[in-house]
Symmetry: D3
Subunit: 263 residues, 6 copies
C-alpha cells in the first residue's frame, strides 16, 4: 500500500512540510458521514503499523451509523497528513462496496442464495475490491483468470461446447469448470456434458425458473444486470449464487473525513 | 498497464489456453451499451501496441451513442481474450468519469466556469482517473501533494492562517498557494494575506455570492457536495472553478462488452 | 523474464563486450544431451522476441532424443551470449521437471489416474515449474494459497474438522474444498462433512484401497512420498489423482548447451 | 523475500483466513526428516523479523540429524501459516545444495582442493543458491557475467585466444581472466598468453594430470561432469579448484515440515 | 533507498561477511572534511531506522566546519559497513548541492531574489537533488513535466506564442504558465498574452534590466549560464527568481568519510 | 531507463500535450556546446529504440568539438519532447565523466598506468557512471561490494591484517584480494601475507616510490586525492593503477541541448 501513498505524495507534501514542525505529534480521527458497512480497516491498520502510526479501529464488516468514528490515529503529524487521503480513499471505496454488497446479500440471503462479485474491478485495486466484497458478506468469485475455468461465449467461437468442457476438465482437478450460457437448452447441454456450474447470462426470472426445474447436480449462477431492484425476483428462485458487478460499478463511495483532534 | 493484465491473469488464463489454439488469429470489437463520452482509448492503443494487437478506435472525448463500436482489435486470439477484461475495466471506469465530468462541465461552461476533480481517486489508478477528467473537459486539479500548496483546516491546527500563507509562499514560485476556508471572513483574510486562490468549502450559494462580491485578485474555487443537481446554483455566481469528486465517487461505470467477430 | 537476464548479467557482460564486436550477428543452436521431454520453449520464444532475436524451436511437450536441436537462434552476437545462460537454465530446469512428470504420468495414466504437482517449488520460479508440470502432462494443482481451500493438519489445531469444512464452504463457490487426512476414519468423516476432495497423506496402498472402497462422491488425492518406484502401487487403486513434489525436488535438470554455429 | 510470500499467497490465504482467528498466536517448529547440512536459516530469520515472527534457529552450515528441529517460531498464527511453504521451500532447496556441496567439498578438501559452483542456477533464485554453496563450504564462483572474465569456446568464434586474453586484460585489474580450454595445448597457450586461470573443460584425469605437470603460475579449474562418484579421481591431481553444477542440478531437496506445536 | 544499498552490495558484501562476526556491534561516525552545508541527514535517518541502526545527526541545512561529525551511528557492524558507501554517496552529493545553492542564495538573497534549480538532475536521483536544493535555501522549481506549464522554444515550433499561452491556460488553474523567451520583445508579448511568468533565457544584464523596466504583473525568471561569478550582476536587477543548474552540474561533492569508532 | 523518463514526466507532460498535436512527427538534434568525449549514446539508442524513435549518433568515446551534433532523432514530436530532458541529463553527466576520465587517462597512459574509478557514484546511477568511465578509457574498478575483496581500515578494527587476508582468500578464487594500507610497512606486510593488490591510501609520491621499490608480485593501486594536477607525480612512479573519484565527484557535466529541427 506504500505505493498508494507515493502516488499521492510525489516528491514530498509541500504543504505539510512547510507548515507543520518535523517532530510534531498529533491525534486524528476518521469519521463517517453516512451509515455504512465499514471495510478497509484491516488495510488501514497494516499501513499505519508500517509507518509507525498507532491506531484503534472498529471492525471490518460492522454496520456503523452516520457520524461514527471508524478509527483513531496517533503519531507524527506530518505522517498523519501524508496518509490522510490514501487512507480515506481506501476506506471510502471499500466501504462503498461492502455496503452495497451487504444490501444485496441481505435480500438474497433470505432465500439462502449467495451474492458474488465479478472481475469488473478497478485495475490495480482488485485485491481491495474483492476484500470489500468478502467483508460485505459476498462471495469474491474468481480472483483471476487462473483460479477457475469459465467458458464464455467468446471461447465458444473457437470450439464446441462439448469439446470445451472436455478440454477444460483436463486443466486441473482443483479448478471449477463453469460455462456461461445464453439459453435454457445450452444450460442443460452444459450440465449434461459435465460442467460443474452454469452461469445463466441475462436470463429472465422465467428462464431461470425453467433451468432450476430441469437441471440437476450442477451449480447455477445467475448473472447479468442484477441490481438491488431486481435481485429478489431472481433470489426467490433459489439459484446457488447470483453474481453482479453492481457493487463495484454503480454503488457510490461512502463519504468520510479525517480530522486532527489534538495537534 | 501490463501490471493490470498480470493482476487479472495470474499464472495463465487456464480457459483460453485450454480451448483456443496457440496461434489462432481473431478480430474483436468493443461495443458500448449506453450513450457516453469515450475515454481510455489512448491507453487501449498503447496497451494493444505493446502486445502486438492492431487496433482502430474512436477518439477519446467523443460522445458516442448506445451500440457504438469504440474499438476494433485484431491479433492473436489468446492475447485478445487475455486483454478483454483489463481493457473493458479501463474503458468502463474512465468513460464513466468522462461522461460525468462532461455533464457537469456543460452546465458550468455555460457560465464560463471550469469543473475540477479532486484527489478522491482510486488508489493505484489516479493517472487514469485524472486523464478521464481531462478527456471529459474537466480540470484535473492537483495530481499529488507536491504540485501546489493547499492549506486545509487540518494544517491550521498547527499554524495561523497568515503565517501559513507566508511559509507557503516560500515553497516555490512555481506552486499555487491555495487556502481552504470555511467562512466568508476567512476567505477575505486569506486573500488579503497573499493566497493565490481560496477554496470555499461547503459554502451556500449565498455565501459564495458574498465572497465573489467582496474578494478580488484571487481565484475562487467552490467545493463540497457538488452534484449535477446543485452545480448550476453555484455556477451562475461565476467562481473561477467548481471542484467535486462526484465523477469519481458517485458516477456509474459505462457498460461495454467485447465480442470476438472473426475467430 | 528480463529480470532473470539482469540477475545473470549484472552491469554488463564484461567478456562479450570486450571480445565480440558490438554489431556482430551470429547464429546459435541449443542442443540437448539426453533424451527428455522439452519444456520452456514458449518462454524462450517470448524472451527472444523481446530482445530482437529470431528463433525457431521444437514444440513444448515433445519427446526429443539426445543430441537433438531444441532451438536455432539468430541475432546480435552479444545478445545471444547474454541470453545463453538464462535460456539454458530455464530450459534445463523446466525440461527436467517435464520429463519427470511425463514419466510419472505415463504410469498413472495407464490406470486413468492424473499426476499433480504441489506447492514445493523454487521461490520466484513457480510459474515456470507449474508450466513445466502442465507441459509434461501433469496437473499443476493449486497455483497459490488463494485458488482452493486445502485444510491441513496445522489448520485443525485451531478448529474441528467438521467446523473447518463448514467455514471453508463459505469462502467461494468457485473454490474446491479439500481436506488433508491422516487416517481412513478422518477421510470418511471429511467426505461425510461435505468436503469436495480428500488428500490421503502418507497412506499405504492398503489404506488407500480401504478409502476407495468406502468413500463416495468426493475426489481422492493420494499424496506423500510418491516416486517413480512406488507410483504404480497407488495408481492401480485408481484414486482420482496422485500428487507429488518428486518432479520438482528430486528430478535432475536436463543437460543442454548452446553453441554459436555461425559467427 | 516478501515477493516469494506474495507468489505463494496470491490475494489472501483463503484457508487460514476462514479457519484461524485473526489474532490467534501460535508456536511452530520446523523439523528436518533427513540428515543434512542446514542452510537458509539466516534468510528465515530475516523474513520472520520482517513479519514480526520471533524465531530461534540452529546455525547455517551445521550438520543436523534426521528429526532435528531447525527452527522454532512464535507469532501470529495466520502469519506462521502464510510463511510455512515459502520458508520450507527456501530451506529445503538451500539445504539440499549445502548438503551436496559439503559432500563434494569433503572429498576434495582431503587433497586441499576447493569445490566451486557454476552459473547453472534457478533463474530468480541465484542469490540463495550461491549462498547455499558458500554455507556448504564451496566456492560460489562468479555471481554474474560482470564479476570476472571467462573466455569460453563461443567467444573464440569471434577472436583468437591470444587476442582475447589481451583484450580481456583491459577490462579491469579487479577482474580475473580465465579461459575455458578443451585441450592440453590450449591450456598451455592460455597460460603463456597471460590468463590468470584455465578451466579444463571435460578433461580426463590423465589430461588434467598432464596440464598440472606442464603448466605453472596460473590457477587450474577442472570442470565438466563432476559428481560425487568421480570427484576424487580429479581431486587427487590437486588442481586449484573443481567446479560443478551437480549440487544445483542433480542433488535432491532435503525433506522438512513445519508443525504447529501450540495453537 | 534500499535499492541504493542493493545496487552497491550485489549478492553480499564478501569482505565484511568474511572478516566481521555476524553479531558484532559497533559505533561509527561520519566526519566531513570540508566546510559545507549539510544535507541528506533526514534521508540517512530514514535509512538507518529501516535497517535497525540507531543514529544521531546534525540538522540538515546547518553549516558545518571541516572535521565536524555529521552523524554517529550504532548497530550491527556488518550493517554499518554495508551502509557506509551508500550513506556517504548520498550525503556527499546532497551536501555539495546544498552548499553550492547556499552560496548562490546568499548573494541573491541580499537583493531579495530567490535562486531556483532546474530539471538538469541525475536520472533516478532527482528527489534527493531537489531536496538538497531546498535544504540549501533554494527553490526546487518544477519537480516534473506535470507540475507547471513551461513553454519553450521547441514547443513554439508547433504553435504560435499567443495560441500556446491560450492553450496552456486550459490545462489547470493549479498550474503556473511560464514562457521561455529569447528577446525583450518576446517577453513583453508573453506577458501581454497572459503568461504568469517569463523565463529570460541567456539574457545579458542589460536586456534583463530592460524587461524589468517595461514588464508588469508577471514573474520574471532569469536563466542561462548563471554561476557564482555572475549571479550578482543579475540579482541586483531584482528579477523574481534566478534559476540555474550550476549546483547540480558543476559544484563538487563534499568530501566525507565514515570511521568505525568502537568495534 | 524508462523509470528515468517516468521520474521526469509524472502523469503527463502538460505542456507538450496541450500544445503539440498527438500525431505530429518531428526531427531533432542534440548538439554539444563544449569539446568533450561523448558518452551515453549507446544508452540513448536503446531508449529511443524502446520508444519508437529513430536515431543516428556519433560513437561513444569519440572526442567531439564544441557545436558538434551528437545525435539526430526522428519520431513522434511529443515523444521527442518527453525524452529531451532525460536524454540530455544522461548524456551530459556521462560525457562529463568520460571527458574527465580521458583527461586523467591520457596523462597516466603515457607511463603505462591505468586510471580507475571508485564506488563514489550517484546512488541509482552507478551503471551509467561506470560505463562512462569505461568509455573514457578508465578501469571501472569494483562494480559492487561483491566483485572483489577490499580490506579497508574499518575492517581491520575487527581482525588482524594477516588473519583478514587468510579469511579473504577463502571467499572465492575468482575474487581479487586487495588491502587498503596507510603505511609502507603495512603495504609490505600485506604483500607478504598473500594479498593480490595493495591500495596505497593517501601516500605521498615519495612513499609510493618506496613501496614500488620494495614490493614485488602484487598489484599496486595509488588512491586518495588524485586530480589532474597531481596525477603525473604519481603516474611517473608506474604503479599498476591510480584510482580516483575525481571524474565523478568534481568534474562538471558537459553542456548540451536538443533542438527541434523540423516540426
Amino acid at each position: 500500500m506504500l505505493e498508494f501513498v507515493r502516488e499521492d505524495a510525489g516528491f514530498w507534501d509541500v504543504t505539510s512540510e512547510s507548515l507543520v514542525p518535523e517532530d510534531a505529534e498529533a491525534r486524528a480521527e476518521i469519521v463517517v458521514k453516512q451509515e455504512c458497512v465499514a471495510a478497509g480497516l484491516r488495510e488501514l491498520r497494516a499501513l499505519c503499523r508500517h509507518l509507525g502510526v498507532e491506531c484503534t479501529t472498529t471492525e471490518d464488516g460492522s454496520r456503523v451509523s452516520a457520524g461514527s468514528r471508524l478509527a483513531e490515529l496517533q503519531g507524527n503529524a506530518r505522517t498523519l497528513l501524508l496518509l490522510e487521503r490514501t487512507l480515506l480513499n481506501m476506506l471510502m471505496r471499500m466501504s462503498g462496496i461492502a455496503t452495497a454488497t451487504r444490501r444485496l446479500a441481505e435480500v438474497a440471503g433470505r432465500y439462502g442464495v449467495r451474492v458474488a462479485g465479478t472481475r469488473k474491478t478497478t485495475p490495480g485495486f482488485r485485491y481491495f475490491e474483492k476484500r470489500a466484497i468478502a467483508v460485505g458478506g459476498g462471495d469474491p468469485h474468481r480472483f483471476r483468470l487462473d483460479d477457475a475455468v469459465l467458458i464464455k461465449h467468446n471461447h465458444l467461437r473457437f470450439v464446441s461446447l462439448r469439446e470445451a468442457i472436455r478440454l477444460a476438465r483436463g486443466v486441473s482437478f482443483t479448478k471449477l469448470v463453469e460455462v456461461e450460457v445464453s439459453s435454457v437448452e445450452q444450460a442443460l447441454l452444459a450440465a449434461e456434458a459435465g460442467a460443474d456450474a452454469v452461469m445463466l447470462d441475462n436470463f429472465t426470472p422465467e428462464e431461470v425458473e425453467r433451468v432450476m426445474g430441469e437441471i440437476g447436480g450442477v451449480l447455477v449462477e445467475v448473472s447479468g444486470g442484477i441490481t438491488p431492484e431486481n435481485i429478489e425476483s431472481y433470489a426467490r428462485l433459489k439459484p446457488h449464487v447470483i453474481s453482479t458487478s453492481w457493487m463495484c460499478t454503480s454503488a457510490p463511495w461512502v463519504d468520510m473525513s479525517m480530522r486532527i483532534t489534538e495537534p
